[in-house]
Symmetry: C2
Subunit: 328 residues, 2 copies
């Protein structure tokens, strides 16, 4: 395999730096989901930790490095989960953490960032606007800017999920990974392709935020003017070239799913797996719902990557059963 920016030995070493509370997360067959999906389904659960997402695997690497270097401050742009993770990792190491987010991000995520003692700055735009503002703060203050998916620690932190997937029998046929900026997809994909290349790596993105998927398909960066999805965690418009290069090496496929499928996936995970997940974490189930023939009879792992939702929005999404939501 041509080489990505990631390094498997460094990823293994990273496990020693990450707080164990974020490692070795549950991985289990969920048979109650299977009649509705027509395939064997295993869940890799990244929500049962202090920040309810996988993002701290990466921020633990970043914050540890900064603390070792004697840094005092760090800034990132975030759709909400990276900010919580960096706030958590930074708080434990005495770092001043600034998070820049869209004022349209879920209030639950913003509230948790504040509760973790980070300085939160809101911008009147989307995630890509927040990225620009965070970069400006980093230049002004001369502090480290953490760029999700571009910074290798964010990818290699997420990649530790991949180590756990391939370490544990039984083996599986495909892994479904939410695709946004690409940190999780390139991280997990790198490890899976390095250590279990027969496993299909399938990235899943909302049809309403398709920039990275379109870029992957055309093998060059394609940007979009806007996004329109409830999956706030993966709603970027401007793929990063270096991340796309890596994704081209490790992803077997990238698919787009509809909003109704994401909601149906969230509802299935609630009703049949007892899991409260944010929209991004239902992308894998949505992909199975939209193309059951592809997965029929196979063993599929889906990474449930985050569970930070606004309670009211969540109740609205899973509370009703619109007639246009079908499960096959």
């Amino acid at each position: 395999m041509q080489e990505t920016r990631l390094d498997t030995a460094r990823i293994r070493a990273g496990r020693r730096v990450i707080d164990p509370i974020f490692l070795d997360t549950p991985l289990y067959r969920c048979e109650a989901l299977e009649p509705g999906l027509g395939c064997e389904v295993s869940i890799k659960l990244e929500t049962a930790n202090p920040i309810r997402s996988f993002k701290a695997r990466g921020t633990e690497l970043v914050a540890s490095l900064l603390a070792d270097q004697g840094s005092r401050a760090v800034v990132c742009a975030s759709a909400g989960n990276l900010g919580q993770a960096l706030a958590w990792s930074g708080r434990g190491r005495g770092l001043d953490v600034t998070v820049v987010a869209s004022r349209f991000a879920p209030a639950a995520k913003l509230d948790r960032i504040r509760a973790l003692d980070a300085r939160l700055e809101l911008v009147d735009g989307d995630f890509d606007t927040a990225r620009e503002r965070a970069a400006a703060i980093a230049r002004r203050d001369g502090i480290r800017l953490v760029e999700d998916s571009l910074d290798i620690e964010t990818c290699e932190g997420a990649a530790t999920i991949g180590l756990e997937l391939v370490a544990t029998p039984p083996s599986f046929d495909a892994v479904l990974i939410a695709l946004g900026g690409g940190a999780m997809a390139t991280g997990v994909g790198h490890v899976v392709k390095a250590l279990a290349p027969e496993v299909e790596v399938i990235c899943v993105q909302p049809l309403g935020a398709p920039a990275m998927t379109r870029s992957w398909r055309r093998r060059r960066v394609v940007t979009t003017d806007s996004t329109d999805t409830i999956a706030d965690g993966v709603a970027g418009r401007r793929p990063i070239p270096a991340v796309l290069d890596d994704l081209l090496l490790v992803a077997d496929d990238a698919v787009l799913v509809q909003e109704t499928s994401i909601v149906a996936g969230m509802r299935m995970l609630l009703d049949h797996a007892g899991l409260v997940v944010e929209p991004s974490a239902a992308l894998g189930v949505a992909a199975i719902l939209e193309d059951p023939d592809r997965f029929a009879g196979r063993h599929v792992v889906t990474i449930v990557c985050g569970g930070n939702v606004d309670v009211d929005a969540y109740r609205r999404w899973v509370g009703a059963t619109p007639p246009d939501l079908t499960t096959a």
Copy 2:
């Protein structure tokens, strides 16, 4: 400490027999719960596994023993979770599993027992009626009867939770344990009192199913004629004398909580921790809600012991906000 029926060395050895999928479950601070509860709260999460409860820790010990002995069949009475667990553990070892349950048990639990290939027999009564019927089947067929809480494997399986609690820093001041038949309370209590005796062991039972708590308080078995609680997993009427004897040695307190507090606890765990739990698993939070002064400023672990709920009932419980439910 006077000796219970449990043995710490045997409990440690049991970890090697239990499928790792049920071990080393998440244990984490949940700061989002803390403003509403007024204390530090950590969650020990027993729902992220194939059967969504802690019960397989015990049935793995039972089924392993039976398989070693060349047994072909086993029967148990169950409120729903033990049956799922025994069905799962037995299926993997080629055992014919019969589960006797009340026809009033949650349909979700009964459906899952059937889906796991067990033979399910329903009785027109409650859990204690099911116990009698299971004993009759065992006598008739000459097969092993698994008696929850009485059989040492069920207690020592649950006790492995205790090993995980005391193995992991940071230390805590109290552990809240749902109390029904007593397997989890005596199991976890035994290990905590043996290895971290300064930690307060507090059992929590619904006011509508108070038999074991009343027995613990009077230091003799007290039965009740009926139960009236949504916490189906802990609704027994007839405490087992040997289990009470153990509980008297390891529990520092046993408290009773109201139904409205259980529902408030379920809702808090959903809204602030993103956890779907069955009523029994909300007993710990209910106990904090009813007596916040007792826990103020302390670090409390609550064992979230199961997540098997009927979807419709669950939505009814957590959907509305009755005016009589307060959080302090």
